[in-house]
């Protein structure tokens, strides 16, 4: 590149950045693509009939049944009857003609209606039936702001999921991720938070320097992340609702890979002190750090086991990166991954039974899941440079980052790898997704 073309290129970047400054950085507001890769023979068929409107309720901007259908489809455990294939439109249990839904081979049917409440509130009532038994399994209502009907719909999908599967649903959750727009030295970074399906993106922090490694606090109110805005990597903890934040680690060398303990009182992190990274645990009340590993290898990416007793981390002490486990109070580390040339960046399921990781073989990096009981590892992604897996709080799905040409995109894949949904940013690079814990109402 000559100096002149570089100047032109730099100018183009500058213009591109200025031009996009007014555009909200976030996921595409188009309906996300759902790509059912290997069939869903075992998925449960369910009909979600368009919800009715009680008289006086203004037509909503969100089709609640559409959102519920999309949620149930993307977790891989359900196959929702397509809207176009729905021929009858009951909105109450007593209006359901079960033979119709039996003929359509539906195991379950959901009907509901929206009722205008006081203020800006809407109450959404729904009923879930077992079609074969013609039996009502659930009849509940969820209230919310009219502007947050998507949130209400996700909560209904969670209740339906829990009633049928027996595990709490995780659709009404959020995801954090990092975006980067621009090239060379002119890149705009942002830490974003969106609904778990990619809607409603909000900027948590903007930076002209790289942002990395977002990690949620267990109450879902804060995010720890790495920023280079001070010239070197530093760890910040920021409250999402207020934007207030503080630097918790800015030592010489690397300050990276923050991870809140399950009780929220500690932060595991990687500190190099200018030499090489080891795992440390910081008491968030006193800011006192305890060194957990001491090795000339690169030790990083600590995550806590759900009981808070152990840390799983990445180390290249055997030559290539592999996962190790050590007591969170310090002690000997044990290697836990043995298949694949390299394994790194663990995400542990809520029950501790599975570990998702980025597995490398040659130049191919895919997300693999280790079953800790059997020791078996299974690849669940098909890309070439897949990384940063993050389990949903109920472990039904895994979010990860992949590349498409020069940019990064996010995928949400069912835990068995059969159903995957691509969440696309309108432009720029999306990376490092982190799935939030369960949400509490009012959050």
């Amino acid at each position: 590149m000559t100096t002149e073309t570089f100047a032109r290129f730099a100018m183009a970047c500058l213009l591109a950045c200025c031009g996009s400054a007014a555009v909200a950085q976030g996921l595409n507001s188009d309906v996300p693509t759902i790509d059912i890769k290997n069939g869903t023979a075992t998925a449960t068929p369910i009909a979600v009939v368009p919800f009715g409107l009680e008289s006086g309720t203004p037509p909503p901007q969100t089709d609640v049944a559409d959102v519920i259908r999309a949620d149930l489809n993307r977790c891989g455990q359900f196959r929702a009857l397509a809207k176009n294939d729905i021929v009858e439109f009951p909105t109450r249990g007593e209006e359901i003609k079960f033979p119709t839904w039996n003929m359509l081979k539906q195991a379950y049917i959901v009907v509901g209606r929206e009722v205008q409440g006081t203020g800006g509130d809407v109450r959404v009532e729904f009923e879930l039936f077992d079609v074969a038994r013609q039996q009502r399994l659930q009849g509940l209502s969820i209230s919310g702001q009219a502007s947050d009907l998507r949130g209400v719909a996700h909560q209904i999908a969670d209740l339906i999921y829990e009633k049928i599967i027996g595990v709490r649903g995780a659709f009404w959750t959020r995801i954090a991720y990092v975006t980067a727009k621009g090239t060379g030295t002119n890149v705009a970074y942002a830490l974003m938070v969106a609904d778990s399906d990619g809607y409603n993106p909000q900027t948590v922090v903007n930076s002209r320097q790289p942002l990395m490694s977002p990690a949620w606090s267990p109450d879902g109110r804060k995010i720890a992340y790495v920023s280079f805005e001070r010239g070197n990597s530093s760890i910040y903890i920021q409250e999402i609702a207020t934007g207030s934040r503080e630097v918790v680690s800015a030592n010489k060398g690397i300050n990276g890979a923050p991870a809140f303990s399950p009780d929220g009182t500690k932060l595991a992190l990687a500190l190099s002190n200018g030499i090489n990274p080891d795992i440390y645990v910081m008491d968030l009340a006193t800011r006192h750090t305890t060194q957990i590993t001491k090795h000339f290898a690169i030790d990083t990416e600590p995550v806590w086991t759900p009981d808070g007793q152990k840390l799983v981390f990445t180390s290249d002490r055997s030559g290539k990166a592999q996962l190790y486990e050590a007591p969170a109070a310090g002690g000997d580390a044990t290697r836990i991954t043995f298949s694949g040339e390299s394994n790194a960046r663990a995400s542990i399921s809520y029950d501790g039974k599975k570990i998702a990781m980025a597995q490398g073989n040659g130049n191919v990096y895919r997300i693999a899941v280790l079953d800790r009981a059997t020791g078996e590892t299974k690849a669940i992604s098909t890309g070439g440079l897949d990384e940063s897996p993050s389990f949903a709080p109920n472990a039904s799905m895994i979010l990860y980052a992949a590349t498409e040409g020069p940019r990064g995109v996010l995928f949400a894949v069912s835990a068995d790898g059969r159903v995957s949904q691509r969440l696309v940013l309108a432009d720029g690079d999306v990376r490092e997704p982190a799935w939030s814990p369960y949400r509490q109402r009012g959050q």
Binding site: T185, M212, G274, N276, T314, N363, E432
Partner: protein, 173 residues
Amino acid sequence: MKLPIRVILTAVIASVTLAACASKTKPVPVATDNGTQTTTTTTPPSNTGTYSVGDLDTDSCLRQRIVYFDFDKTDIKSQFQAAIGCHAKYLRQFPGARVTLEGNADERGTREYNLGLGERRGNAVSGALGSGGASASQLNTVSYGEERPVCKEHSEDCWQKNRRVEIVYTAKQ
């Protein structure tokens, strides 16, 4: 922070393309027979020779400020030893000069692991400069891991450009 990077980038581009417009002062532009211009190179310093501050912009050895690495490796290849020797000599001569060694990695491997790898590479160059006589107070390492690629294609051609340490002067004397 920003200015030195820009200075370096310009220097890098200039050194790659031998663009005539890059350096206005010291080097005497010499017209070649095909009409394009090239810069003169100063004589490589002997053990007794000394540098001037301006040599940072003009000396072909001091203008080499990027050290490239093999995949997942941190050892300095022989072809970069000479340039590191020149910078060590310069730093020895100007005790007030300061450099930041910006370590970088290609996109393979996880981001936090690559922060560690970039730091190892930065420390390798820092160590070599120290061995060459630079003092510890002149040397600072920052790892950017894979966060600052100069190239974003998924191929070895591109990856080899990203596996690098940039020697950035934050003070010249």
